[in-house]
Symmetry: C2
Subunit: 341 residues, 2 copies
Amino acid sequence: MTASTTSTTAVEALRRCRDLVTPALQGAVDRLDPASREQASYHLGWTELDGSPGNGGGKAVRPALALLSTEAAGAPAGVGLPGAVAVELVHNFSLLHDDLMDGDTERRHRRTVWAQWGAPSAILTGDALLALAVEILLESESPHAAAAASLIARTTRELIRGQAEDVAFERRGDVSVDECLAMAAGKTGSLLAASAEIGALLAGACPAVAAALRTFGAEVGAAFQLVDDLLGIWGDPTVTGKPVLSDLRSRKKSLPVTYAVHHGGAAGVELACWLAGSSDDEKDLRRAAALVETGGGRDWAAAEARRRMSLAEKALAGVDIPPVARAELVALGRHLTDREF
Amino acid sequence: MTASTTSTTAVEALRRCRDLVTPALQGAVDRLDPASREQASYHLGWTELDGSPGNGGGKAVRPALALLSTEAAGAPAGVGLPGAVAVELVHNFSLLHDDLMDGDTERRHRRTVWAQWGAPSAILTGDALLALAVEILLESESPHAAAAASLIARTTRELIRGQAEDVAFERRGDVSVDECLAMAAGKTGSLLAASAEIGALLAGACPAVAAALRTFGAEVGAAFQLVDDLLGIWGDPTVTGKPVLSDLRSRKKSLPVTYAVHHGGAAGVELACWLAGSSDDEKDLRRAAALVETGGGRDWAAAEARRRMSLAEKALAGVDIPPVARAELVALGRHLTDREF
C-alpha cells in the first residue's frame, strides 16, 4: 500500500467503526444519573455548554481497534460492540480524572469538566463511566463477557499504575528511559492493547490470535507515545493544537528528553541542568530542543517508534486472520504513528 | 432475644466475619501498585504513617452482611468471600473519593489519604480499589461471579448518584424529605442492600431469598442513616468521635433537619432562616437543635428508623432461611440501628 492508500483505508475504517459505536455509546451514557449524563455528553463532544449539539468529539481509535479485532477473529463487528463501548468509556473515565489531576483547564480547545463543573463532578462522572463499562460488558450476550470485563478491570489497574508513576516522576530528577517506557506502557499501551484484544475475546478467538492482537495494540501504543512525545516538542502548532515546544514549556520528562539526559553526553548534562531550573524564555526553550536533538533523543525516539510499529505488524503477520481486517489494522496503526514531526 | 444478647450475637458475628475477610482483603490489596497499596493499607487501618502496624480499622459491616447472606442461602461463608472482599473494596473506594470531595481532612481521628498524599493519590487509589473489586469477583470460581460483578457495577452507579445528589443538595435550599430519602438510599442503602444480597447470589440462592436479603439490607441502610443523622445532632461526642451538634455546625441538611423545615410549622420556618444564615455561635446551635425537636424532626426520624428496621425484619421472616443466619442478621441490623441518641 502507498502512504496515501494506507491513510484512506484508516480514515474509512475509523469512520465506519465510529458510526457503529456512537449509537451504542449514546445508549450507555443515557443511563447515567442526570448530572453525570450532562457532563459525559459534553466531555464526549456531543453537546456544548449552552445545550447546542457539539462537533462530535474524538476519532474513537480504541473502539475502532475493538471492532477490527472482532473482525480479525472472523466475527461480525457487532459481536465486539460491548467491548468497543467499554474501552471508550474507560478511556474517558481516565481523561476526566487525569485532566483534574494534571490541572488541565482545556482539552481540544474546550473547558475540561472539572474546570467547568468543579472537581467533585469530574471525580463522580469518571467513576460512573468506569462502573458503566463493566455493566455494559456483563450485560452482553457473549459467553466471554466475564473474561472481557475481567480484562477491563485489570487494564484499568495498569492505567492507574501508569498515571501514578507519571505523577511520581514529576517529583523525581532521576527517571530512567526504561522507567519512562514502563510508565507509557501502563498509561497509553495497556488500553490500546486491551482494545485490540477485547473484540477477539468476545468473539471467542483462539488464544494465539487474541495474543497477537494484544501485542499489536501494545506495540502501536508504544509507537504512538513516542510519536506524541516528538510532536510535543517539534509538532506544528496548527496541527497539534498545542503551543510550539509545548512539552518543554511544561518541563515534561518525555521519552526523547529522558533519552537525551541519560545518553546524550555533554548535551544531556546541559539539558538536565536546564530541566532543574525554571527559565521559560523562548530562546532557552529552543536551546533545550536543540540539546534533545544533539543528545540523540529525537533520532532515538523516531527509530524506536518505527521499530515498535514494525513489531506490531510482525505480530499480526504470524497469525491467520482475514486479509481485510489485517489491512485495516495495519493501516490504522500506521495512521496513528506516521504523523509529521 | 434481650437487647444485650442481641448485641453479643452481633459483636461475635462481626468478629467472626472480620477474621474471615481480613486475610482475603489483604491478599487483594497486596496486588495493587506500590503507591496505591501503601495508601490503601493506611486507609484501612493496617499501617500507620510511620510504617508501624495500625489498629485494624473499621467493623467491616458490609463484609459481615455478605458472609451472613451466604450462610442464609445455606452455603458455607467461604462461598461468599469474594463478594465480602468486593463490597469492602467498593465501600473504601467511595470513602477515599468522598473524603476528597467533602474536603474532610480527618476520618476516625486519622489524616485522610488526600490530606496526607494529595488529591491525585486519593483519586487513583480509589479508582484502583473499584477496579480491584470487579477483578476479585470475576476470578472467583462461582458460576454466579458475573452476576455478582454486575451487581457491584450497578451498585457503584447508585452510590455515585447518591453522592452527586448530596453535593447538589448543598447548593439548594428547597430539598424535600423524599429527595433526601432517595439520596440516602443511593449513598448508604444501595451498598448495604448489595452486601446483603451478594453472598446469596454467589451461593446460587433462589430469587425470593436473594430479594428478601436485598430488602433487608436496604431497610437496615435506611434505618442506619436516620440514626446516624440523629447522632449527628444529639450524639455523645465521646461515643461518636465528632464534636457536639456536629451536623448543625456544618449546616448539613440531614433527614431530621429537612423534616422539621418542611413539616415543623413556625419552628421549621425559623430553622430554615437559621440554615440560610452563617452563625455558628454555641447558643444558636443549641437553639437550632431545639427547633429540629419542636418541629418534629427528632421524633419522626426515630419512629421512621424503627419502622424501617421492622420492615427489614419482616422481609427476612417471609423466607425460609437457616435460623442461626437469620438471628445473626437481625442482631447485626439491630446493633447498627439501636445506637444511643
